[in-house]
């Protein structure tokens, strides 16, 4: 993990540039604006309590997106309490010491909120809103309030637990893709918390109590685990002042992640047949890859481009154009700890997953044995550039990009560097990385088959 040296570096840097004056009394570091893409520039501030703030000014609409990224996910759970991070995310919409249950939603909805929501992943929990620009102060006060003043009521908890069970039935139990997704993580990972589903297991959720939620909140929710991202028609200095006023006095908890296990190296192939209510077979294959903040990450992006991005990608030509599969995709689940690179193919009726597997392996072997051409690399880089800009077309898209990289890598710059590094990837690097990680004897294979 490179987290410790990175944090140390930030601390030393901030000592040198801490600003003076009343407005900046809680500010630890304050970087000058940096261009992200097109006309967009981002300002980054870190407060003394550890809270980070990113501001991207975009006056194209009199609105703004506001996202709060917490460095908390299902990886912070323990066996027997799976699904707690996500269930707790639901509880964040309940009452606080200052607002009774329902008020949070009511105030925001009447202010004209758009896309009010939240999501939990293995590594993060994120709360998102978009609002008309005059309501910046409102959301800052509401979000800072629920960061420290939440009340978890026993009755509300029980009802919300049932809502989450219904969400689990919807996303996993009654979904072929959801079942395969869960099975892939359960099979590929054995030690790391990534092996249990973010939404949790039915039996764990049934036994979970409101006290578990209160303990989780006390332990993890604090400014030092949060990054606020504001994108829209805002004044940077006003945002900083308002955030400082609302969050500046909140105390950090500096709760360590604790002993989060990492998987031992996979040394043998793992295979599972998953009977599903489906009409034609499905194939999921995975290889272990390093953590997101690793120098090989840009190469995996290029590999994804070569193999499955665009209808002219190698796997689309080999599987879809030939009438074997209806669709094929691949990509890295690039996470804080080592993740997986997954291939997914939906077979045409009557075609077997084993045929698709042999073709994917054949294409991987080709990449291992023969470097890609410059022409193919140009094709991939054009597409990746296009996708990068596509992610940034909305305020919430820009906020997501910034929040994700700031939380996963410790600095949003990593997202920009990733784009630069992608453009530098050579055929030799592709060849080297695919040989290093895509070992047939270390892969995990799931075959989704129709139930008899």
């Amino acid at each position: 993990m490179q987290k410790f040296p990175l944090l140390l570096l930030l601390t030393l840097t901030s000592l040198a540039i801490t600003s003076c004056g009343h407005q900046a009394q809680n500010i630890k570091s304050d970087s000058s604006a940096k261009n992200v893409a097109g006309n967009f520039e981002v300002k980054r501030v870190q407060f003394k309590n550890g809270l980070k703030l990113l501001i991207l000014k975009d006056p194209s609409s009199p609105t703004f997106a506001y996202q709060t990224w917490f460095n908390i996910g299902s990886r912070n759970e323990v066996i027997g309490k799976t699904g707690l991070a996500h269930l707790f995310e639901h509880m964040m919409f309940k009452g606080t010491k200052n607002h009774k249950e329902g008020e949070f939603d009511s105030i925001l909805e009447q202010a004209g909120v758009e896309g009010e929501n939240a999501f939990t992943s293995n590594d993060h929990t994120v709360y998102v809103q978009e609002l008309p620009k005059e309501h910046l102060d409102l959301i800052i006060n509401l979000e800072s309030d629920r960061m420290v003043n939440l009340l978890v009521n026993d009755e509300s908890f029980k009802t919300e637990r049932e809502v989450v069970q219904n969400e689990r039935r919807f996303r996993k139990e009654n979904s072929a893709e959801g079942t395969l997704y869960q099975t892939m993580f359960e099979t590929a990972f054995t030690e790391s918390p990534y092996h249990w589903p973010v939404i949790g297991y039915e039996q764990d959720l049934n036994l979970m109590t409101a006290q578990d939620a209160r303990d989780f909140y006390e332990k993890f929710y604090s400014p030092d685990r949060a990054t606020i991202v504001v994108v829209g028609d805002v004044n940077e200095n006003e945002v900083i002042k308002m955030v400082e006023k609302a969050y500046g006095s909140l105390q950090p908890k500096n709760t360590p992640d604790g002993d989060i296990k990492r998987d031992v190296e996979q040394t043998a192939q793992k295979r599972k047949k998953v009977p599903l209510n489906i009409q034609s077979e499905k194939l999921w294959m995975a290889y272990k890859i390093p953590e997101a903040n690793h120098p090989d990450t840009p190469v995996f992006e290029v590999i994804q481009g070569i193999l499955s991005d665009g209808m002219n990608s190698r796997l689309n030509r080999a599987l879809v154009n030939t009438g074997i599969a209806t669709s094929v995709s691949s990509g890295s689940f690039s996470m804080r700890d080592p993740g997986i690179y997954v291939f997914m193919a939906d077979l045409q009726k009557g075609k077997s997953a084993s045929l698709a597997e042999s073709i994917i392996l054949r294409e991987i072997e080709k990449l291992k044995n023969k470097p890609i051409t410059e022409e193919e690399l140009v094709r991939v880089k054009s597409l990746l550039k296009f996708h990068f800009y596509e992610k940034l077309t909305t305020a919430s898209g820009k906020a997501h990009f910034l929040g994700e990289f700031e939380t996963a890598y410790g600095n949003f710059d990593a997202g920009l560097n990733l784009q630069k590094e992608i453009m530098k990837v050579t055929p030799e690097r592709v060849n080297q990385v695919i040989n290093q990680y895509f070992e047939t004897k270390k892969m995990t294979v799931l075959t989704g088959v129709p139930k008899k």
């Binding site: 893409a37 097109g38 006309n39 967009f40 520039e41 975009d58 006056p59 194209s60 609409s61 329902g102 939603d105 009511s106 909805e109 009447q110 202010a111 004209g112 909120v113 758009e114 009010e116 978009e130 008309p132 029980k158 009802t159 637990r161 049932e162 809502v163 989450v164 219904n166 039935r169 919807f170 139990e173 009654n174 979904s175 072929a176 209510n277 489906i278 009409q279 034609s280 991005d309 665009g310 209808m311 002219n312 879809v320 154009n321 209806t326 669709s327 939906d346 045409q348 009726k349 094709r379 991939v380 054009s382 550039k385 296009f386 800009y389 596509e390 940034l392 077309t393 909305t394 139930k451």
Partner: protein, 443 residues
Amino acid sequence: MNLLSILISLVSTSVFASDFSFEADHSLPLVYVNVVMKGGATQDPDGKNGVTDLMTKLMLRGTKQKTKQQIDQTLDQLGAEIDTETRAEYVVLRGSVLSENIVPFLSLLEEIITTPSFRPTEFEKLKKEQISEIYDQLNNDQKLIRTRYDQIFFQGHPYSKANFGKVKDIQSLTASDVQNQYKRIFDQSRMLVLAAGDTAETSFKSFLSDINQKQNFKTSIDPIPAFTNPPQGLRVVIIDKPERTQTQIVIAQQGTNFQNPSLDALQLANFAFGGGSFLSRLMIELRVKRGWTYGAGSAFKMGSQAHTWRVSFFPKNGDTPPAIKEALKLIKDLHDHGITQEEFDAAKRSMVNSAGFNYNTPSKRIENMLVEKIFGLPAGYHKDMAKRIQDITLAEANAALKVFIQPDHLMVGLVGTASISKAAIAKELAIPEQKIEVVNYSF
């Protein structure tokens, strides 16, 4: 970035037979181009459901000058994508490209529109893919309920046709069916070209001119008749799928169209009842108080003719019967008593204050324009919604509900396992079990 650096201009012109609108937006180096044709899946002839969708997809699989692979390769090299979308009453070719490549991109798009080759080999491959995709959609209960519900509710009417078609119909389609449909649909007098992004309007000059010269069909599409056979009484249909632990439920009645003068009042009342708010009546009653469902909502599905007004939610098997009963009670209560002053005020404030988000990006503005032009709405219909909502009174909203809501003429459709749910639903609703229809989930 300062405000002056953003140049936003909206241009609409009808110099060409096709209707063209362009909005400059230089914030990112991307350009979006939507080519829209009036006439969607509802124009599929009987027994040929799926022909419009196949026709649109096949257009991307070869022109007289380029093979499918050459088209795919060109798109990738330009940093571009073209997707197709078939809706009930229109089809869209949605293109996007890095702005530095707008000229070759438009040249390719023009070629795709004016000289599709409809090669028989690609057609046969596409048919197989489409059939497999339909089978794949059966795996998703939420998609399944949407499609199967409309097939059953609108039986015999063009709105019953699935946008992506029916397996049986697709199997018997021929390449000439697709070519005939192309000639029928792609009359440039019904074409809209809606674009936005980091370029100038002049970039489109030769594109429009070439289409104008080359695309010269004079055809007509069938008007969609009004649906005259909505449910009489309460109809319950189980779309039977094995081993479900949860049901996907839609309860609907015949809807309304854009010409209804009470539509805004109904939209406001619907927002309070179940239109997207976490504090809507449906969410409070079904999710917050009882924990029966993760999501619950109500919405109007709009078309040139009245489509449906529908309530949807997804409880576990055991909660399905009481949840249906409660939803029916809530619909009746909405008809009988309307919404409260508090609900009305909250809904109005929320709709008015959030109205800006309906048109805050170029792609949303393009989408609004598309709907306005396809359904003959006045320009700015979406942008002006807040003003219209502001003027509505509680009495108007409740009067509109009283006329519109038909609590005694609803169809309850659910994807679930009949052997688990049928008897329990009949008992809860106090109806004979044989009154509940059971149909297979496959189609």
